[in-house]
Amino acid sequence: MLDVRQDFPAIAAGAGHFLDSAASALKPRAVLEAMNQFAGTVYANVHRGAYRLSTTSTELYEKARSRAAEFIGASNPDEVVLCRGTTTGLNMVAAGWGGEHLRPGDRILLTVMEHHANIVPWQMVARRTGAVLDYVGITEDGHLDRDGFVRKLDLQPRVVAFTGMSNVLGSIPPAAALAEAARATGALVVVDGAQLVPHRPVDVQSIGADFLAFSGHKLLGPTGIGVLWGRPERLEEMEPTEGGGEMIANVELDHSTWARIPHRFEAGTPPIIEAVGLTAAFDYLDEIGMESVAAHDAELTNYALKRLSEVEQLRIQGPLTGEDRGGAISFTLGDVHPHDLATILDQRQVSVRAGHHCAKPLMRVLGMPATARASISVYTNNEDIDALISGLEEASGLFGI
């Protein structure tokens, strides 16, 4: 079990039992200090000035790109687009690749457990292009329906996009196997890595997808920055979705040409300070080691599943065992509404998410409008889980169940 709580100033400042890391993670001091230090010393805009500060800033910004590439096993930093986050990355692929290549009747295959960020952009491009959406379901125990997935592949989807780890169920689909099968049919494969990348070692070579998007802020880094990784040939096929400074090779009055990849996808002044914070987050996680992060996550997930299963009338939505699942655990307690649970738990300094988790189609499949969700990060410990259980017992008492 990791013991890194002292690295997180928010915990000392009273964050309490913070169990909403799947929404956004707390930041280690190393990330905060790196940004502060940078902004207060050598900060300037990037890729523009010939002066010393700008050159240094550019080097540090580009360092984030190469660290991102290393972190996910990409062979070349040019395969990494720095963007606002997972949502922006997925929108870029849907509009920029899908908008160029999808034709009326082309199928876009998603899963019912996607976050809205991996549904709505595809709906938008489907409306524009006449492509149609298709969905793979889930099994009774909250995993992706692999047989259903294979059957849907027979329909020759042009795009297959799925989550690396469900933000509601916690289930971790076999990304490499799914990507291999989907690519064999000629589909573009897009992985939403928002929940997976912060919790498991991820290697884009072994997953074998075409695109992977993830966010800095769920990875102990700052908000406002994330990564879209893409195979270079796929990035070349993708149109920029934003025009402006920085993304051009040449601009005439009536037309422009684009800069080379990945810069053509980074119009305007990028999140420079955040890039420095993201580098610090990669460094921090690599120092712990992603294998250790995954082991910590698995151990606590198993502990939480065990303790939760002992609570009367508590129902876990998602896999009941730690196998192929991560530490995002959704549940309901009797007829207590999740918002009431969140309020009761909050009185004990236990922060959980309550609601539809930006996954309304999945909530419909589960047959409930809302769940409560506790989620785990490197700073989570057994006491956080124990506090959750005590709070749930109090809720049971208050509601007489």
Binding site: D335, V336, H337, P338, H339, D340, T343, I344, Q347, A354, G355, H356, K360, P369, A370, E394, L398, F399, G400
Partner: protein
């Protein structure tokens, strides 16, 4: 403040046994309210005999606060005329949102919801049926 002040028995009773759930066949006034943040939903339907509420239906799903507030609201407005309803609605909403409130006595059962004042994020739950009612009346 203890959570018992928020989750009073009368609130849990209305949550579990909501009143006036049957849809009205031909409502004279109706509105649907949604809190997009949390997904809570309330539908309010009214019929009038002259200016006075004759039939009420309040349906929806959501947390104990929004649903009990709707159930108690339906009971409270039966037999009131439009003017009296809008006064009650305004005064009740003010009682939850204004700085100081000492008007518990005028609200009967609804006073049980005053506990929500201490939980700012939950005030909107208690208000949802009332803003939906306002919308139905102004349509």
């Amino acid at each position: 403040m203890a959570l018992e002040e928020l989750y009073r028995e009368v609130i849990l009773d209305h949550y579990r046994n909501p009143r006036n759930r049957t849809a009205l066949e031909e409502p004279h006034a109706a509105a649907e309210g949604v809190n997009p943040l949390c997904g809570d939903e309330v539908t309010v339907e009214l019929t009038f005999g002259g200016d006075v509420v004759a039939g009420v239906s309040v349906r929806g799903h959501g947390c104990s606060i929004s649903q009990s507030s709707g159930s108690m609201m339906g009971e409270a407005i039966k037999g009131l005329d439009r003017e009296a309803i809008s006064v009650l609605s305004r005064r009740f909403q003010e009682s939850l949102t204004s700085e100081d409130s000492n008007s518990e006595s005028e609200f009967g059962e609804l006073a049980a919801l005053q506990g929500v004042r201490r939980y700012p994020v939950r005030v909107k739950c208690a208000l949802l049926p009332w803003t939906t009612l306002d919308e139905a009346l102004s349509a």
